[in-house]
Symmetry: C2
Subunit: 122 residues, 2 copies
DNA sequence: TAATTGTTATACCTAGAATATAACAACCAT
DNA sequence: ATGGTTGTTATATTCTAGGTATAACAATTA
């Protein structure tokens, strides 16, 4: 699993970490049932504190992407709840779509971006 | 212009403000060339500090949504730069799409959300 | 002249992000 | 059984961002 953190970004490290794990799961670089590196190991390889990784893992667990097994560590286990997922996605999407409309992006242009990204990420 | 701030949200006030102005412009509640309330007036009506509104206006100006005229205040003036807008949209969208793919959302389901939101916001 | 415009400056407080140690129970390999 | 590793929790510290509070400025407007 390739993780790259931009320490000059205004985005929190644990958020960058979370997003990259999203992408790793989406692209099947990590598959359902497989283990993630231990919090200490990952913290060491990317050069951040253990607690920063732990926070990323904790939020991923809380949002239904990981389950924690004492003997196997953090294991990919995605809770599928389509209704909730659609609602969340809609809420996240709303300000982005509004921004795009202001900037003159058409409905088709936005959906082309979705197509591009969906291909890129699956 | 109806602005509603959730003071219990984890989202920063100036970000909520920014997003609602996006939506107001997208839905033509405020139109190109029209003035927004003064920073002091808006701060007063929604019950926050002047500088919080000023920060929202400043970022909107920096991102090409407003132009500031000394005599007319903050005026809606959207800079259309489709290439940059598409790139930004793609960057914002990427982690969201990844999240959706993990949760089992199909390409069509996501595009339906885009359709719904585009209709709602234009 | 008096009031309002965005803007800037300064100071303060609080919460969140990140780091640093340290310890815990549970597990596993040797 | 010992030693090392797992996630987790606790405590403390530093730094930054968000928000508030006054105050002042030049430019504009009534």
């Amino acid at each position: 699993m390739y993780i790259e953190i931009d320490f000059n970004s205004d985005e929190a490290i644990y958020v960058q970490l979370r997003n990259q794990i999203f992408m790793a799961i989406a692209t099947s670089q990590i598959k359902e049932g497989e283990s993630l590196p231990s919090v200490r190991a990952l913290a060491d390889t990317i050069g951040v504190n253990m607690h920063t990784v732990n926070k990323a893992y904790s939020t991923l667990r809380q949002d239904g992407f990981l389950k924690v097994d004492r003997r196997r560590g953090a294991v990919v286990a995605v809770d599928i709840d389509k209704l909730t997922s659609m609602e969340k996605m809609k809420a996240y999407l709303r300000p982005l779509i509004a921004r795009g409309i202001c900037k003159g992006l058409t409905q088709e242009e936005i959906k082309e971006l979705v197509d591009d990204l969906y291909d890129e990420l699956s």
